[in-house]
């Protein structure tokens, strides 16, 4: 009888330990949900595509990712006063992309979308690779100015590449589990010896 009691107490303790898992699981769920959102087209600049003085402004256009590929893209604009190079933060900025014989895309660039709040960011989806015309229009009070240029867009990365880390999760976990079980068996064998 005492043995049974000890066993029951052990079982009870084991169960209680299991139940401690919940807070960790909640954290884990939060963690998973956070990571599931992946890496958004990070509106933080990227590399300088062009820099032009136009009217009262110096306009710098950044693009990301590098190299620019068909798919989600981040086009950011910094506007500076051409006299003192102070950033201009109250302009209305529009980005227009067009492709000869192809479709045209227009989007407003806004500071709220940008990580760096000195930049105006527009998150766009480039439908196809090739050479694209880009035109940036800046309006501030009664002043309106625009600059234009050309950007090369590379083909999109392989489809599965975007999901590599999620698809790699099961084989990696299984691999770790196999090593874990193998180590456990080795340790047990070692103790027996």
């Amino acid at each position: 009888m005492p043995d049974m009691k000890v066993e029951k107490a052990k079982k009870k303790e084991k169960r209680q330990k299991d139940e401690e898992f919940l807070p960790l699981l909640l954290f884990f769920a939060f963690f998973v949900f956070s990571f599931a959102q992946g890496y958004p087209a990070h509106a933080d600049g990227g590399i300088v595509l062009m820099q032009r003085s136009s009217g009262p402004f110096v306009i710098t256009v950044f693009t990301a990712p590098t190299p620019l590929r068909a798919g989600p893209a981040d086009i950011d604009i910094m506007i500076q006063d051409s006299k003192n190079h102070h950033p201009v933060l109250d302009a209305r900025v529009t980005v227009a992309l067009s492709r000869e014989g192809g479709e045209a895309i227009e989007a407003e660039a806004r500071r709220e979308q940008s990580k760096n709040k000195l930049l105006y960011a527009s998150l766009l989806t480039l439908p196809e690779p090739g050479q694209w015309e880009i035109e940036v229009t800046v309006v501030r009070y009664s002043e309106e100015t625009r600059i234009s240029g050309v950007m090369m867009v590379a083909p999109p990365p392989p489809f599965l590449l975007a999901y590599w880390w999620i698809l790699a999760l099961p084989p990696v976990t299984i691999g770790l589990f196999v090593i874990n079980q193998w180590l456990k068996r080795r340790l047990k064998a070692g103790w027996k010896k």
Binding site: K12, R15, Q16, K17, D18, E19, E20, F21, L22, L24, L25, F27, F28, A29, F30, F31, V32, S34, F35, A36, Q37, G38, Y39, P40, H42, D44, G45, G46, I47, V48, Q51, V58, T60, P65, T66, P72, M78, Q80, H85, P87, L89, D90, K115, N116, K117, L118, Y163, I166, L167, L169, P170, I174, F177, I179, N180, Q181, L183, K184, R186, L187
Partner: protein, 768 residues
């Protein structure tokens, strides 16, 4: 200019993944530290906790503050970020002696069975000793710093977000290694004499001086990016580089020389030159607290009913009735709009509320809590009414006291869903709801107990099966108290409160199968000994204990059939909305020269939901039996392993239904506006149909769906492995037993991933 400064302060980049990770680390450390502090308050004092948190804060500031946003525009800002990652965060984290607190903070099972074998393995121990060797640490850090400052690599990091993160991780990781022998966090041993650490730091300072001098005195801008970006300060690109070099020189030197000075004092003041405590806060030997009186840290299971607000609401005697009234009202709205409203699914509340919102919310509730839909079941009113009007005195026929009837109904429902496009037919949806009310009224009006819930209701069966992996369970708080109970109110009830209608005897109840979360047992128990307790999801699937009112799962082919129907049904149901599948059906129709798709749909449905599962499962059972050389029958094996597939099936339902909820969630607004407008009430204005496509296809949704499937798949494999181990005996190989079932799970996982990557057809919906 104020706007300029304001913009800088607003440029935080708080990545939820990083925050979640840091919170997880902080929580684990605090948990472990709390335990160790009670055992050894001097060795694990408050200062250690503060240091660790200061280190995490420094790391957070480096990667999330405006420093990160402006690092690409100013080299001096980028340098500050790197100094935080190499000189501030790592030593502070190591001063927190994180090794033991992080281990003790893990759940005991994870520590023992998960991390334990790795940590105890000689290979990892050898590796650990190698990488914490002072020479290796110094070289790793110096190489990392020098390599990343070569323009080729530095530019790569500036151009690519991915490489920028790799750069930061390598800085931080190598800095942890660098500071390891200097701080020697407990319980690390001393590899080199203490005085050598002074030389170690001075050599690092020399390297730092050389690099910072190069930045400060070079006459051209080393990194072209900084020459091309717009200048946002008075500094030119070259002045910026000089300032960055100066910062690295001064701050870096201080970071090396101050510890070197402290070490010198320690070495000189110690006769043996053995490490004293100024850098490590180590406790003198023999001063730890007497542990015999330490308070117990064992925790009882978390109980939802004991939480302050939610618990009080759930314990309220009329809560369930109130929740049911709300659901009843919604059901009435669905019926009324389904019968008399616009007959396009996405414009009608009968097309939107049940198929988009209710299904999505049910699976989320099952994942996050438990079977809360059955708790708020609107059909309870019809059941109670039936009992009052009709005799309700017969027992449910013994011949059908199983899940077979429900399995049949569920199969018909899954077929009808495809065959009649139920999601796009408000009229049919309304009649299904009416049918539910009538059948629950009749069945519970004639038969005793909750016969409708236990043996008939397809929704209930879905919830029962999926809630097997929910984290909450209605369960006894203290089993010892039940041993002294002789009245058994939890199942018998008393004069005021009925007991469990589904005949689940609380002390013998295992898992959520057949539990409607009605809380009758909670209210009936005179000892207040039943709660909604937390437990490890899916842990109930592994064992094969006797379950009250059900027996053992391994002896229940009807439950196995129910589970497998729902597992394969999840894939068939999701595949039904794919464009390639629809094209395939049309090709078959043309091939056989048929005028309608219906015969093709029926044949495919029968094959994919009945014939194929039966064949695959039988094959697995036979192979498993043959490979494992086991004496158990195939039927018992199938019944045992079927439960392992619950997580995979659930993850497919979750991926599918959450997709609809997230992409079509706004559809309820215009549908409500239309329904209210049809009644002549202009309160909500004209329907804004643009909202039907207001939620774009979120770019992270596919990742989330695959992630759900990943976890379901892994949990299925793990459960299957543990079930196979139940059969382990000297003559039986658990692994061989497991292989056929693992292959089936892999096959289903691949199909699931394929489904998620396919374009959706969304028949009858205006949401794309």
């Amino acid at each position: 200019m104020n706007h300029f400064i304001e913009a800088i302060y607003q440029s935080w980049n708080v990545d939820r993944g990083v925050v979640a990770f840091l919170l997880l680390i902080a929580w684990t450390y605090t948990r472990g530290w709390r335990r160790l502090h009670l055992q050894s308050p001097q060795r694990f004092g408050v200062v250690r906790l503060l240091c660790f948190f200061a280190g995490l804060t420094a790391f957070f500031l480096a990667v999330a503050s405006p420093l990160d946003a402006f690092a690409g525009l100013l080299l001096i800002v980028h340098m500050t970020q790197h100094l935080l990652l190499t000189m501030v965060a790592p030593p502070l984290i190591l001063l927190g002696a994180p090794y033991l607190p992080l281990l003790r903070g893990l759940p005991p099972k994870v520590l023992k069975h998960g991390a334990g074998p790795f940590l105890a393995g000689p290979a990892l121990q050898r590796f650990g000793r190698l990488v914490t060797h002072p020479a290796v640490c110094w070289i790793a850090f110096a190489l990392t710093i020098v390599l990343w400052h070569i323009p080729l690599f530095y530019e790569l990091a500036l151009r690519s977000e991915f490489w920028h993160e790799v750069e930061h991780l390598s800085f931080f990781g190598s800095a942890i290694l660098f500071w390891w022998p200097v701080i020697q966090p407990y319980p690390g041993d001393q590899r080199w004499p203490r005085w050598t650490m002074i030389l170690y730091l001075l050599l690092a300072d020399l390297q730092n001086t050389a690099l910072s001098a190069l930045l400060s005195f070079y006459e051209r801008v080393i990194y072209p990016t900084y020459a091309s970006v717009p200048r946002i300060s008075e500094l030119t690109a070259l002045e910026d580089q000089i300032a960055a070099g100066a910062l690295m020189w001064v701050f870096g030197s201080l970071a090396y020389l101050i510890p070197a000075g402290l070490l010198t004092i320690e070495v000189l003041s110690s006769r043996q030159g053995v490490r004293p405590s100024s850098l490590s806060f180590q406790t003198p030997v023999g001063k730890s607290r007497d542990m015999s009186h330490r308070p117990s840290l064992r925790r009882k299971a978390w109980d939802l009913l004991s939480t302050p607000l939610v618990g009080a609401v759930l314990r309220w005697r009329h809560f369930r009735r109130a929740a049911q009234a709300v659901m009843f009202l919604l059901a009435m709205i669905v019926i009324a709009d389904g019968l008399f409203g616009h007959q396009m699914g996405s414009m009608n509340l009968a097309g939107v509320l049940p198929w988009t919102h209710w299904r999505g919310l049910v699976v989320i509730a099952l994942l996050a809590g438990g079977n809360f839909f059955c708790m708020a079941c609107p059909f309870m009113f019809a059941r109670d009414l039936g009992r009052q009007i009709m005799p309700a005195r017969w027992n449910w026929p013994r011949q059908v006291r199983s899940k077979w009837f429900a399995v049949g109904l569920l199969a018909i429902y899954l077929w009808a869903y495809e065959a009649f496009d139920l999601w796009d037919s408000p009229w049919w949806t309304a009649w299904i709801v009416i049918g539910y009310f009538v059948s629950s009224f009749v069945i519970d009006g004639l038969f005793k107990g909750a016969s409708f819930c236990k043996y008939v209701c397809p929704i209930g069966q879905f919830n029962f099966v999926q809630s097997l992996i929910s984290p909450l369970e209605v369960k006894v708080r203290d089993p010892d108290r039940c041993r002294t109970c002789t009245t058994y109110e939890c199942i018998r009830g008393d004069s005021v409160q009925r007991g469990c209608e589904l005949q689940l005897f609380q002390p013998k109840k295992e898992g959520n199968m057949d539990c409607t979360f009605c809380l009758d047992c909670v209210h009936a128990c005179p000892h207040n000994n039943v709660g909604i307790l937390a437990f490890v999801p899916a842990s109930q699937l592994i064992h094969d204990r006797y379950r009250s009112s059900m027996g053992r799962f391994s002896q229940r082919p009807d439950i196995a059939a129910l589970i497998l129907l729902l597992v394969f049904g999840a894939f068939v149901n999701a595949a039904g909305m794919l464009k390639p599948v629809a094209t395939w059906e049309e090709t078959l129709r043309d091939w056989f020269n048929l005028s309608s798709l219906k015969p093709i749909e029926i044949i495919l449905f029968v094959i994919s939901l009945l014939v194929l599962p039966l064949f695959l499962v039988s094959l697995c059972g036979t192979l498993s039996r043959a490979l494992g050389r086991i004496q158990v029958g195939s039927r018992d094996l199938i019944c045992s392993f079927a439960v392992a597939f619950v997580p995979l099936g659930f993850s497919m339902w979750l991926a599918h239904l959450v997709f609809h909820l997230l992409t079509g969630g706004y559809a309820v607004v215009p549908a409500t506006q239309r329904a209210v407008g049809d009644m002549g009430i202009g309160l909500l204005g004209k329907p804004d149909w643009s909202l039907l496509s207001a939620l774009p296809l979120l770019d992270w949704l596919t990742s989330l769906q695959i992630l759900f499937l990943d976890f379901g798949f892994l949990l299925t494999l793990y459960t299957g492995w543990r079930i196979a181990q139940r059969f382990q005996s000297p003559g039986t190989r658990a692994f061989r037993l497991f292989v056929p079932w693992a292959l089936l799970a892999i096959g289903l996982y691949i199909v699931g991933v394929w489904i998620i990557f396919q374009p959706m057809q969304m028949r009858g919906m205006m949401v794309h």
